[in-house]
Structure formats: C-alpha cells, structure tokens
C-alpha cells in the first residue's frame, strides 16, 4: 500500500511538473506553423527522457551519489568545470524564461506588463526556496501543476484527426521552411530532454534516501510519469494545430499563445491557460534554481539540502539567492521571454552531449553501479537521440541566425 502511494505520488508529480514555458511555447509554435508534423520530436524526446530519468534515479539509488558528485569524482575538476559552466549558463537562461513566463501569465491576467512583475516574482520564488522544504517544492507545486491536464482536454474537445496525428509521430522532412522546421524541432528536443531535470531527480533520490529496493518503483514512475507528461506536450501541439493554425498565426509573442484554448474551452480556456502557465513556470523556476545550486554544492563538496535552515548550508542558499536575483535583471530590461525561451531551448539541445555523454560513462561504470549498470538498449537509445539532437542543433541554429 505504501509503495502504491509512493508510485502514485511520483507519477502525479512528474506529470504536474512536466510542462513549463519551454515545452508549451515550442509545442504551440510547432502546431501553429506545421500542424501535426512535429509530433515526432516530442515523441522521441519523451522516450529519451524516460530513459534518462530512469537512469538518474537508478544511479543515485544504487551508488548513493548524485550525478554531479560522480561527474566531479570520475572526470576530475577541469572537465567538471567545463560541464558546470555550460550547464549553468543554459540553465540560467531557462530560469530567466520561466520567471518571464510567470510574469507574462500575470500580465495577461492583470494587464500590468511583465517587467513590473520581475522583482515580485523573483522574490516569491526565492521566498519559497528560503522557507520551503524539498517536499513542498517537489510535491506541492507539482500537484498544483496537474491543472495543465486541461491542454489534453482541449485537444480532445477539438476532435483531432487521429490518423494525421499518428502520421506526425514518424519523422518527416518539410519542403518549404526547412530552417524554421529544423529549429523548432531542435527547440522541442531541448525543451523535452532537460538535463536540469536529471540533476534535480537524482538529488531528490538522495534527499529521499532511496536504496536498491527503489529500482522498480523508479522505473514505473519514470515510464508513466514522463509518458503522461509527453502526452501533455502533444496536447499543446494538437490544440495549437487545430485552433491557432487555421487563423494563419505564426507564434512569436505570448499574447498569441494565450488564445490557445479559447475555442476549445470557451468559458474557461483563457484563464486555465494563464493559471496553468503560472503554476507550471513557478514549479520549473523552483526546480531550476535548486538544480543550479545542487550543481555547485555537489561539485564543490558543500553541505546541501533544501530542507535545512539556510545558515546550515550557507553557500548553497547563497547560490540560489544570487542566481534568482540576477535572473530578474534581463526581464527588467524588457528581454522578451519567448525569445529567451526559444534560444535557450535550442542551446539546451546543442549542449546535450556535454551533459549526457559523461553521464553515459557513469551509467556503465561497474564501480558505481555493479550489476545495475546500463544495458546496450539504454545506451543506444539515449546515444542515438542525443546524436540526432546535436546534429539537428548544429545544422539548424546557424541557419536560423542567418535567416534572421
């Protein structure tokens, strides 16, 4: 019974925490510009994520190390510092995008521009980190995040063409707008396969004191939680394909995405969208700030636990305090959160090898994992998807820059 509850809670929090501004903006853009054609990007991204999340949980449960711990120990400080720099820069941009997402949700609700929200929003995120515990952040916010299920309801209510959608699950090439198609595909992959989720998940396994007996639970949570999450992203894409595309709208502002559910759910669609984004971005902002602090603390061997009083892990708390404070600055300067989102998602995809290749080494390490190390299926699935994302990113990001 207790195990069943744990599994249920794990799945629910994974689903509630799945969507954030990156996955919503990229999926909405894909649907508006290319109909169902880019569903495959969400599909293979989610499969890769299932494997990665399962691995992160298994790694920490068996080795009692977080991924970052092991990365520093195995690859040494010089290599670690390169990964640290890359990951923290990208995660910081994502954090800016998430804070912006909260601000934009408040903007469409109240009419007050998002730059005005930058300081209050950062303060609330910081306060939740300062006062909250790991359980509050992991469970509380994710439970609220279940409101994002409305995207799937909206998609179903619009009576999608299931055959067309199924065809979208197979990768296809686009004739006209190759550069844009490739760029959105890369951004979707970057939004779906988020490395910060792995760091967060593996630190969570240590905070919750998992051991080898958690391997089956971890597997079930990863498979169901992440695939239901992927379905939410697909819901956004389908809704956008059915509601936004017929109007000829090419999404590049949040105001346009806000119309996503107004046709499917006339009465509540607009407000549900705003609240969903608010909660989803808040959850993601908390997770990313934590992931960045974990990265520093574990890499340098500081005390870390989200559940301690701040002065007991001073450097850990200092890190997220500074990061959240600095992340408010671009928003105060009117940086467009949707632009930041698209760039940071593409950069995430481009830097995936930096995060994932060392991780694959660790997952095959007999010293850390013994008999629980990866089999060839896990290695090849993750390896292939990362290779695809990287190649796509290297080709399409320069094309996008040249295209303006």
């Amino acid at each position: 019974m207790k195990k069943f509850l744990q599994i249920a809670l794990g799945i629910v929090t994974s689903v509630g925490g799945f969507l954030e501004i990156g996955s919503v903006a990229t999926a909405a853009q894909a649907g508006a510009s290319f109909g169902y054609k880019l569903l495959w990007a969400i599909f293979i991204g989610t499969i890769c994520l299932i494997f990665l999340v399962e691995m992160s949980g298994r790694f920490s449960a068996v080795s009692k190390h977080t991924i970052v711990d092991a990365m520093r120990e195995r690859f040494g400080f010089p290599f670690f510092s390169i990964v640290l720099l890359g990951m923290v820069l990208v995660a910081f941009m994502v954090l800016v995008a998430e804070l912006g997402g909260i601000g934009l949700s408040l903007q469409i609700l109240t009419g007050i521009g998002f730059p005005w929200w930058a300081i209050p929003v950062s303060f609330v995120v910081w306060l939740l980190m300062w006062k909250g515990t790991f359980g509050l952040i992991e469970n509380g916010v994710s439970l609220l995040g279940l409101v994002t299920i409305c995207f799937v309801v909206a998609a179903v209510k619009l009576n999608p063409d299931w055959h067309g959608a199924a065809r979208g699950l197979l990768p296809s090439l686009e004739g006209d707008q190759k550069a844009k198609y490739g760029f959105i595909a890369v951004s979707i992959l970057g939004a779906t396969i988020s490395p910060y989720l792995m760091y967060f998940y593996s630190s969570g396994a240590i905070e919750d004191e998992w051991d080898v007996s958690y391997i089956p639970i971890n597997r079930i949570i990863a498979v169901f939680g992440m695939s239901f999450g992927g379905v939410l992203s697909m819901g956004v894409l389908v809704t956008s394909a059915l509601a936004i595309q017929p109007n000829g709208i090419d999404i590049d502002k949040f105001e346009q995405v806000a119309l996503l559910m107004t046709t499917a759910l006339p009465r509540w669609g607009f407000y549900l969208f705003a609240v969903s984004m608010l909660v989803a971005c808040l959850g993601a902002a908390l997770e990313i700030s934590l992931a960045i602090s974990y990265f520093f603390a574990q890499g340098f061997g500081w005390n870390w636990s989200e559940s301690l009083t701040p002065s007991k892990d001073a450097r850990f708390c200092f890190t997220y305090t500074v990061i959240i404070l600095v992340a408010a600055i671009p928003l105060l300067l009117h940086a467009d959160p949707i632009k930041v989102t698209m760039i940071s998602m593409a950069l995430t995809a481009a830097t995936l090898p930096l995060a994932i290749v060392p991780f694959l080494f660790l997952m095959n390490d007999p010293i850390y994992l013994g008999e629980h190390r990866n089999g060839w299926i896990s290695n090849s699935v993750v390896g292939i998807v990362i290779l695809i994302s990287f190649v796509l990113a290297v080709i399409s990001i320069p094309l996008q820059i040249i295209g303006g």
Partner: protein
C-alpha cells in the same frame, strides 16, 4: 590569432543575417491580422478579459505598422506599392479603432469592424499569394 578568427566568423555571420524577404514579411502581417481576428472572436464570445484583448489589439497594430514601414521601404516589385500601402495602413488603423471599441465595451460596432477586418485579411492574403507566386 583565435580572437581574429572569431571576429571574422562573427562578421560572416552578421553579413549572412539577411533581412526577411517580402513574402516572409507578408506572412507576419497575416499572422498579426489573424491574431487580432482570433482575439476579437474570443472577446465577442466573452472568453477573454477586456484589458488583455485591448493590449493584444494595440500590440497587433503596433507590430503591423512596424512591418509595413519596413516592407514599403523597399516595396516588392510584383504588386502595386500604393495598393499595398493603402490596405496595410487601413488594417492597422482599423485594429487601433477596435482597441478603442473594446475600451468602450461597444460590441455591435466591434463585430462590424471584425467583419471588415476579415475582408482586409482576404485582400492581404491575395496580395501575399501573388508575391509568393512570382518569387
């Protein structure tokens, strides 16, 4: 040595940053007219708050104005620039007017303007198609 190479690379990239083609600009114009149309529909069905709708209309008209200005600086040769200018400025003005009607909560007038906006949309679409066809 390395900085020099970086400088050259960024220069190439900057030079490669070509401005959007007229066809692409027409697509953005259509996208923003579509946005106003969809937001208008939603407002008439009482599904979106006034402030948001008004701001979206203002944003649409502002963006439209910006794109038309860029577009008419080097007008596409395939269409009559005067006709293009006329329909674009008319649409932009209409959207501004609609934003004011939202403030006044004048739904009947707003509905009429929305119908005219749909007509503008068709005209622009036809112009966009002829630009794309001749490219």
């Amino acid at each position: 040595m390395r900085t020099k190479r970086l400088l050259v690379l960024s220069l190439i990239l900057a030079a490669g940053c070509k401005p959007p083609t007229p066809a692409e600009q027409m697509d953005s114009v259509l996208s923003w007219i579509g946005t106003a149309g969809m937001a208008g529909d939603a407002w008439l069905r009482h599904t979106t708050p006034d402030t948001y709708t008004r701001q979206t209309f203002e944003l649409s008209s502002k963006t439209l104005g910006q794109i038309s200005k860029d577009l008419l600086e080097s007008p596409p040769t395939m269409v009559d620039p005067a006709a293009l200018d006329r329909v674009l400025s008319e649409t932009s003005k209409r959207i501004t007017r609609m934003a004011a009607l939202i403030g006044a909560k004048n739904a009947p007038d707003f509905a009429r303007q929305l119908d005219s906006l749909r007509n503008d949309q068709k005209t622009v679409k036809a112009l966009a198609d002829s630009i794309e066809a001749k490219q």
